[in-house]
Amino acid sequence: MTTPSIFSESVCFDRFREIASHFVKLHNADVLLTSPGFGECGQSFIGLFPDGELVVCAEFLAVSSVDSYADSIVLDVKDFAFSDDRPTIGYVSYECGQAVRSVSTEKSTQYPFVHLKKYKAVLVHDEAESRVKCLCADDELTFSIAQEMQEAGSIVDTDLPNISIQDVSMSLNQSEYEDGVRDTLEYIKDGLTYQLNLSTMLSLRLDELDPAAWFFALNKNFPAPYYAMFQSGDKHIISTSPELFLRVEGGKVTSEPIKGTLHFDDYYPELEDELTSSPKEDAELSMIVDLVRNDISADCKYGSVIVENHKSVFAVDKLLQMYSRVRGELAEGRDCLDLFFNAFPGGSITGCPKKSSMELIEKLEPHGRGPYCGSVVVINGPQDMVSSIAIRTAVYDQTTKDLTYWAGSGIVIDSKPEAEYLETLAKAGKILNPSQS
């Protein structure tokens, strides 16, 4: 048990972002960064000087060993995260989700199932209070961090790389993706799934990318509540997610599944009605709300699971997105990691019913999802955690200079193959065509 020495001072969000940028460049800090104006999600974190990590590596998952392996992952994560009361930051991959849901795969993956770190110091910024505090057991280090915070300069505006679609290789190109949609429609007609999230993987070599500069420029230009930059070996996980998977605060559980997308060039309020009055988008969201209710109910008190703000709308990346809020309360004897792993991966990126949809995704997608559709998480204790669904997420490998990005769309019975492909491209817009997005 560490007793953190805490300093707390007034810092606005923009300044905190400069501080984050400074610490990433100088000390390879890991960062979870919100953007102003997204309500109660306004906490950001900088993890400095990791002094402990848990890497659960993916192995080839034989069908027979899936269950026991999943149990051991959960125990390992609990042992690590709850070993002391310092925050734990990291990510859990989609493949870990396949393991815990007993979905076998023969694809090899270059990503660990779980990569979590603890740090000598964590800076926490609260947007509503405009304050930053430092959690650190070492007075001398706390002092030097406070000094260094003063030295952080402004973020130099850099142009976002404009990537031509011709330079990008896709695991499913347009015609293959549209074939995948058609196959999915047949699975839907057979009752194997009601909704399935089909993704494609985009990759290209980008020699001159400065991942930190790119990350902070994206955050400035495309605000979203769950940005994260996390170093995992040679790879930078760069997540620009707008989606909350699970927040647990003193045992109170919130999930905010997003479903229903409308791309726009110029916003006007009637667009929101267009989105909320679409029976297709409505059904997409409703299914996932029922799925998320189910997923959190496994660890929530009877009678505590409720739906609020059904069909709310927010704008992100020139997309209107519809979401709902599902709340619950952790049952006696359950912690946030029981909840996390029983609900993982998030329903909005699998489809419904979950296991059957995941088995179909495994057949339909030639690529592995890696961090995409996994989760970036900060665990503050057994009853306190924030985790995003890692959509709009890229990986930059510093050694190979490969940039990998994934994008997908929820397929339902009314889906049109071409429209779903275009929605998928729109979600890749801030990476592919940032100047037009």
Binding site: I188, D190, A283, S286, M287, D290, P353, I413
Partner: protein, 194 residues
């Protein structure tokens, strides 16, 4: 009151568990995967057509929704022939129908994640539907007790045995007044709560 909720690989089963506990005073619900308790191919230890539990240990059995078709979930026969009350939801209803020789077919256009108002036991309520398949022909001894405007069976009941099925999802947050459907089931099974 002891309820065994048998899960057919579904993602709404916990919602059903919470609904049963909410609507049935004193309900204790055990949730088990179908492959753990039914004599199906996946469960070699029970290949001699035996259930892995004693039916008399429970007052009510609930068959969950699930992906796929009834033929994918073999082994419900002994339970359905036991004389114990069984409530089937969605796929669960189709499993009951299949057992009595009914026919399950693809539903034109499917119906997922949306509600429809149906007349049910004197009520007119919006119910959530999630199904690609439907009971085209109901099995022997089964009766359609509620249907939608297109005559798609929404609830079926056996005319001699305590077997009841709902095609819609009372456990969905979209379903209006879900307690009506649970009360009706208890009444139909002759289960008194006191």
């Amino acid at each position: 009151m002891k309820i065994l909720l048998i899960d057919n690989n579904d993602s709404f089963t916990n919602n059903l568990e919470h609904l049963l506990v909410k609507e049935i005073a004193g309900a204790r619900v055990a949730v088990v995967p179908h492959s753990d308790v039914l004599p199906c191919a996946e469960n070699v230890a029970n290949e001699h057509a035996k259930l892995s539990f004693d039916v008399d240990d429970f007052d009510l059995f609930v068959l969950s929704p699930g992906p796929g078709k009834p033929q994918d979930y073999s082994g419900y026969g002994p339970l359905l022939d036991s004389g114990k009350p069984v409530l089937g939801i969605c796929l669960g209803m189709q499993i009951i129908n299949e057992h009595f020789g009914g026919r399950i077919s693809r539903l034109e256009g499917c119906f997922h994640g949306r509600t429809e108002k149906i007349y049910f036991a004197g009520h007119h309520l919006a119910v959530a539907r999630y199904h690609s398949l439907y009971c085209e022909i109901v099995g022997q001894g089964l009766e359609v007790i509620a249907a939608n405007s297109q005559n798609v069976p929404m609830a079926i009941a056996h005319n001699e045995r305590p077997l009841l099925g709902y095609q819609f999802h009372p456990e969905s947050f979209l379903t209006e007044d879900a307690g009506v459907f649970i009360d009706y089931a208890l009444d139909f099974f002759g289960i008194s709560l006191l």
